[in-house]
Assembly symmetry: C2
Homo-oligomer: 314 residues x 2
Amino acid sequence: MTDPSPSSVFERITLCGLGLIGSSLARAIQASGAVGELIGTDHSETVCARADELGICSHVVPSLAEAVQDSDLVILCVPVGAMGELAQAMAPHLRDGVIISDVGSVKDHVTEAVRQHLPDTAHLIPAHPIAGTEHSGPDAGFAELFENRWCILTPDADTPADAVAKLRLLWERCGAKVDEMTPAHHDLVLAVTSHVPHLIAYTMVGVADDMERVTENEVINYSAAGFRDFTRIAASDPTMWRDVFLTNRKATLEILGRFTEELFALQRAIRTDDGEALHQYFTRTRAIRRGILDAGQDVDVPDFGRRAAKPPSD
Amino acid sequence: MTDPSPSSVFERITLCGLGLIGSSLARAIQASGAVGELIGTDHSETVCARADELGICSHVVPSLAEAVQDSDLVILCVPVGAMGELAQAMAPHLRDGVIISDVGSVKDHVTEAVRQHLPDTAHLIPAHPIAGTEHSGPDAGFAELFENRWCILTPDADTPADAVAKLRLLWERCGAKVDEMTPAHHDLVLAVTSHVPHLIAYTMVGVADDMERVTENEVINYSAAGFRDFTRIAASDPTMWRDVFLTNRKATLEILGRFTEELFALQRAIRTDDGEALHQYFTRTRAIRRGILDAGQDVDVPDFGRRAAKPPSD
């Protein structure tokens, strides 16, 4: 086994799943020097081969049992619906005292699905880095994905404090800011800030695709800022998002209920020509945008930075 | 009067309203060399003074009557709800044969509101450049705003073809691609690609602002891609958007009805655990995104180009 350098946080980390998040995390961990040896594995042989070519891990090990057996941290980077099965498959091969974490967008359901399979000696610390793009696969990842983004940990009261501190430090070394909350509160917050917005974007793009009196060319050519941003959101991985909605059903349905209530109120204002109500509503929402810019969670440039950005050459 | 250069399309153009679109158009027209003399005016003295400082027009003329009286093209760059009143105020001062155009996001209602005030000798050619950012005011404009974006003209059958051709050429000289359609069809297309997406984004940001169990700090810090993009859309000018919804009421309400119908179907799929239906829906919407990229109406870079973009220095 490689000797950890003095600044290592873990001796040996295994990332299970090398898609957008897993491969970004691999790059970020390697760049941070926070690990002695980084093992990557994936159920897809193609992904394993590609990750090996990219050289983003110390070793890519296709066998799950071999990949996890000597690690002091194992992070599950797979769609939320696949976490339970993956935990069950790796459980017999885990070393005593291992820390198990994940990067799933839902925490309550996933925590239960994973915990039931783990040995008593393992410490489960669910995590969710709030970062991503609409792209998928090992080539889509980049080391800076987590820089200045938040990572939420949802440990329970029984988790040893030093295990939580080590995982927190790893994420900080990858550039993230770290917060802790309960799984249920996480799921409510994310339903508001991510899950329902994604469902709405998918729906609006679906409506456009369905219109008989508006051609697909018209939708594509005249996609103004609003719709163009929706299509970017709605291009995200279908499997990941199916799992998010099915496993965060309660909070999603609650927030959807609030959303349709407000939408109907605005619809009524349009129908009854109540310009004052519309103007007040639209003015209020500007303040939240200012807060996001002040918190450094986005940049504020003309045309959303697209003038500065160059399309990929391929 | 300045002699037009050989490549001028118009001798003298007046832009009424020097906000984001008006001031961008001023910069684009000046850069194109398509006009002899460019006059800017605005009902706000502050905006006139700032536009004068910025030097984006040949002359800034605060008096509307003086600003329009010798121009062969006058473009109304004000919120949709202000177009009728502006047309009425300028009508007595227009020169014979003048072309009147606008940049409003709604065409059917605006066309009627403007046409009723114009003298018979004026040629009305409504226009809508599909371009913008969430910023407002003369400082927010930039000459490249219309580059490779579409501008839709909605002339009626009686408009002289040479007048339409000149306006088309002006927009092409500003970098835009030009299409023509009826006002009513324009309003339906834009309800799908812009108006309803904006209303939805405003609504979702309003819901987040209203939640008692989720703090504003949580909303701001954990604003993932979905919500973060919504806040950008929902930061757009409240007056402009109030006017859009009130004047494009019919198409907005029709598309909203379609939207809620589809949203309820997805909500039902979540409630009944129908993962297959969700996955199929989310897969279909990816194709539209690909079409928009292929049409050059957006760029496809990791993190939406934000890594490459730098916040403004002020």
